[in-house]
Each structure stands twice: as C-alpha cells, then as structure tokens.
Amino acid sequence: MSLTLDQVGRIARLAHIEISPAEAAQTRDRLNDILGLIEQLQAVDTAGIEPMAHAVDACQRLREDSPSETDRRSDFQAIAPETEAGLYLVPRVIE
C-alpha cells in the first residue's frame, strides 16, 4: 500500500513533526519508497514463529526496591531550556 498526503499528515501529527506544504509531496514519495522496501515482509509465512525482542532472549531483571540514585536535580535543571523554583517551565496548558 502507499500513503496519501492526508495519511502522511496524520502520521506527522502523531509524531509531533511539522511538514510544510512545500515538502509534503517529497516526504510522501520517500516514505512510500521505504514502505515498498518493507512490503516484502508481508509475503513471508511466519505461522507459529515467536516474535524476537532480544538477541539472546533475556528477560527483565528484578532488583531490590531501594533508592539507587542520588539527588542531582540542580545539575539536571542547569541544562534545561527554562526552569523556576525547581520546576521545568512549559507554555501554560490550563487557563
């Protein structure tokens, strides 16, 4: 299948990426080239095959539920675009 301009716009909104009208057609064509490449997977018979998520099929480890990090808030906030009183500032969302 190939994507339409509307579908590309919807995907871009989901991804929080803006595509200008000038680049829309080219973006769609490039994405369709890539989808053309991955389309051949559909023809593969994978009945009964377990999906592979980890190279050596390791599972998540459990650890003791105890604090492992020290408080480095001021170091981390020193590199933030905007902070105030220990908080990260973003544009107002609730009037």
């Binding site: 890539i34 490449l37 994978t46 999906p51 050596v56 492992s68 590199i79």
Partner: protein
C-alpha cells in the same frame, strides 16, 4: 615528520608509557596537534577541549607516577559523540542536542576513564546514528582520509576517519545495523560489534534499543580486543546488559587457525557484490586456506529479508526513543511557538534533520493502531527466522566470513537523495545485527580508486575471542591493516 607513536599499536604505546619513553601528556599532544592540523579538512571531530584533554593526560601521568600500570593507562582515544561524557558537549550529530553538555558519563566512558584513557574529543557521526555515509550529521559530512571526495561510511564515520588518519590510536563506535563495521571497511580499519548485551548501553544515546551495541574501532584485532576488555562488563543501569563473568578477549589471539571452519554464506557471494570487493575477499579466503582453515559452503536463506525487517524494527524503536526530545528538559527549544503542542512540534521539526524525521515517521506509522501486527510483530518474527538460520549454520562452521559492504566508499552526495539505495549499503551487516551476534570488519585489500575493502567476520554468541583470533591470525601474515592514507 610524523612521529612513529601515531602509528603505534596499543601494546607498543603501553610499553613506551611504562618505560617512561614518553609521557601521556606528550603522547596526547602529538595527537592533539595532528587533530588541529587535519580536522579542518576531515571534520572527524565535533567537539575538542584541549585543556580538559590535557588535564586527563596529566592525571594519567600522576597515576603512573603513583605506581599504577594498566594496559590502557595514559593512552588517548576518541569517543563517538553518541556517548554521554560529563562536562563535554554531547550532540549525537543533531541540532536538537547542539547545546547538551552531559551531566553524567556513559558506562563505557566511565570504564575507560577508570582504565586511565584520555579523551581527545567527540567524533562526528550521522545524526542519531541514522545513516551509512555520515552525511546526515548537523555538523557537516566527514571526509574519508583515503580520498576526501568520498564518504567515510557511517554512522561511526568520525571515529573511523579519526583512527584512519591517525588522529587517535583507537576510538569508540556504536553499531545498530553496521555502524561500526561499514565505516571500518570504508576507512581500512578493524572494528568489532560484540554480542548484544556485552557492552552497556547506559549513557549511549538510544537509537534502536534492541539492536544498539557499542564497540571498539582500531587499527588491528589485537587493539580491538584490548579496548573491548575495558568496554565490556555488566551494568545494572542497562536492563539488557548481560551479567556474565568478565573475559580476556586477547586470550586466544595467538592460537593457530589450522582446523578452523569458516562458513561462506552463498547469499553473501551472490550478485550485488562489486568485482573489486569480490577479488579482495577471494584473496583473503585463499590466505585463510593457506593458514589451514577449511572453507565451508553455508546458506542463510532468510538473510535477504534482513534489510526490510530492520527498516521496520529500527525506525519503530527510534520513533519511541526519540519522543523524549521535546524541548522541555534538555537540548534545543524552538524560539517561537503558540502553545505546548506547538512547542513540541516546532522544536522537533527544527531540531531533527530529514533522515531522522523520515525514520520517526516510518516508525510512528508501523506502530500505529491497526498496523502493529502487520509490520512490527511480523518483522520481529522474520527476525527470529534470520537468527534461526545462523543457529543452524553454526553447527557446520566456527565463524562466518564474507564482505562487509558491497562496494568501496562512494562519493559524497552519490546516494544522499535516495534513502533506499543508502539502506542497501548495509545489506551484509544487518543480518548479524538482527541476530545479535558478534561481528567485525577487518581490512583485506584495496579496490576501485585504491579504496580499502573490508572482510566481515561473524561469530557465534559470546564467541568474540575466537572471532578476534580469526582476524588476528590473518593480520599476522598480511599488512593491509598497517597501510595508512598518504599525504597526511
């Protein structure tokens, strides 16, 4: 005149430092001076900090004066800019991290600091490691030291160019679908991607978490083994790090190759490989036969599906990983916006380059409602088929050999307008990445334009030592790995 030290192996440098023939500060200055002279041409480094580097060298000399004598103490290295380095700019080749001074060190960086290595600088790379030519970097393309009109490979292209031009004795790289092996091949180096889980991903900026793996890039297999000794190790902060006993990867280097069974996947030797690459690979295989190895015909029937499976799995994981870059906690924030959603959107649209955006869009699409099973889950099942092929053939052979890339380094700009053509540069490296197997590239001759050709080796899980021995045995009877680009 070039000092012999810039061409020395890690063991030779360690010996010279131990014998006090040279100090770490003197050695480090040799490399910093070369960088100063050659980096304006090659663009291999994004960030340099001479004072910080020299203070690390000074500290290494003090540790030696206090009686320490490790194999890497005082030896300089370059880090791919994907590794977080405390106090240094860490950009990952992106505008979105163009102001990110990391507040912490990656596990690999910590380990190498502990070993006493000196950071020369941060190496250029494809943006978020997405690329095979280093042309997607926000900081401009890296030039191949063998021919500056050509690409150095990617995504660890800055690391490769730095070591090839002898701007650093060794460098760190990362490999998701070939990003250590392909640039190693393009620049005439030896580079290894270990078994997935051997090197911690903590502090290594994530691209595709089920595939990303760090590894060394060096002039020889022996240097790779030495550096891997210090890079590997369990780390509880990476949930996929494997808790295994530490290994000495140099332990089998001197073992002879007689009786070694080398598997040659039919699919890697079919149409697609250029004639010059084929000639160099064939000559290398003949050399292995002379060393007493047996060549075994094998088949990896599903390897042709590796590139399509990878271009579902890697973008899917990338779209999820890169959602953290939103202009709130660190990195670039767009200067003008209407509201919060617009701030996210403008920050990401201005901060990411074209290839990164493409992969985020593909990843978002294949994970979106109604498509997850058809794409992501199906790709993970195909991934299992590919891995099973490898399990089967390792019953017939000890190590697999073939080309690293279908061609020598191409010219800058040759494929930058055609993503699918670019993706196909990794046709031979991606299968082992999906399987999570250890794999490496080593130089085995020169092809068109007198550019280096890489031989790829793939080992069984956790069989790095034997794979490195396979490379080292070859490097004992050939000198391709000792060649250096002229005019530098």
């Amino acid at each position: 005149m070039t000092s012999a030290y810039v061409e020395s192996s890690l063991t030779a440098l360690a010996d010279a430092l131990a014998a006090k023939a040279i100090s770490s500060v003197e050695l480090t200055k040799l490399f910093l001076d070369r960088i100063e002279r050659l980096n304006p041409v090659l663009n291999a480094f994004i960030t340099l900090d001479r004072d910080r580097t020299l203070s690390m060298a000074l500290a290494a000399d003090a540790r030696r004066a206090a009686g320490e004598n490790g194999p890497l103490l005082g030896i300089p290295l370059a880090h791919k800019d994907i590794y977080c380095t405390q106090g240094w700019l860490t950009t990952c080749g992106s505008k979105i991290l163009s102001n990110f001074v990391s507040p912490y060190d990656a596990h690999v960086v910590e380990q190498l600091k502990q070993a006493g290595m000196v950071t020369l600088g941060k190496c250029n790379m494809d943006e978020f490691a997405m690329g095979s030519s280093n042309e997607s970097s926000y900081y401009g393309p890296v030039k191949n030291p063998w021919d500056i009109r050509r690409i150095p490979g990617g995504s660890s292209g800055g690391s490769a160019a730095a070591v090839a031009a002898r701007l650093a004795p060794v460098a760190t790289g990362t490999d998701t679908g070939g990003s250590i092996r392909q640039p190693a091949a393009m620049c005439g180096l030896t580079g290894i991607k270990p078994t997935y889980g051997v090197v911690s991903r903590y502090g290594m900026i994530a691209f595709a978490s089920s595939l990303d793996q760090g590894g060394p890039m060096a002039k020889s297999a022996q240097d790779c083994a030495l550096l891997l000794n210090a890079m590997a190790g369990f780390d509880g902060r990476d949930s996929t790090s494997l808790d295994r006993q530490a290994e000495d990867y140099t332990r089998d280097l001197a073992q002879p190759l007689a009786g070694l069974r080398i598997g040659l996947p039919r699919e890697f030797f079919a149409a697609g490989m250029s004639d010059d690459v084929r000639a160099a690979i064939d000559a290398a295989l003949a050399e292995y036969r002379r060393l007493g190895a047996t060549l075994v015909d094998i088949s990896l029937p599903n390897s042709g599906l590796a590139v399509p499976a990878y271009y579902v799995i890697a973008p899917a994981e990338a779209s999820s990983n890169l959602s953290r870059f939103d202009g709130v906690r660190y990195g670039y924030r767009a200067p003008d916006y209407l509201d919060l959603a617009d701030m996210y959107c403008k920050t990401r649209s201005q901060g990411f380059g074209a290839e990164v955006k493409r992969r985020i869009l593909i990843g978002t699409y294949v994970l979106s409602h109604g498509y997850y099973d058809a794409y992501y889950l199906q790709a993970q099942k195909v991934r299992r088929l590919i891995a099973d092929d490898f399990r089967e053939v390792f019953k017939q052979c000890d190590v697999i050999a073939g080309p690293t890339a279908p061609n020598v380094a191409f010219e800058l700009g040759a494929k930058s307008e055609d993503p699918v053509q670019m993706y196909l540069s990794d046709i031979y490296t991606i299968p082992a990445s999906l399987a999570g197997l250890p794999c490496m590239s080593l130089p085995c001759g020169f092809g068109a334009g007198n550019m280096p050709v890489g031989l790829q080796l793939i080992g069984n899980y956790f069989d790095e030592a034997r794979m490195l021995r396979t490379a080292h045995g070859y490097q004992q009877v050939t000198d391709w790995h000792l060649h250096m680009p002229e005019g530098l």
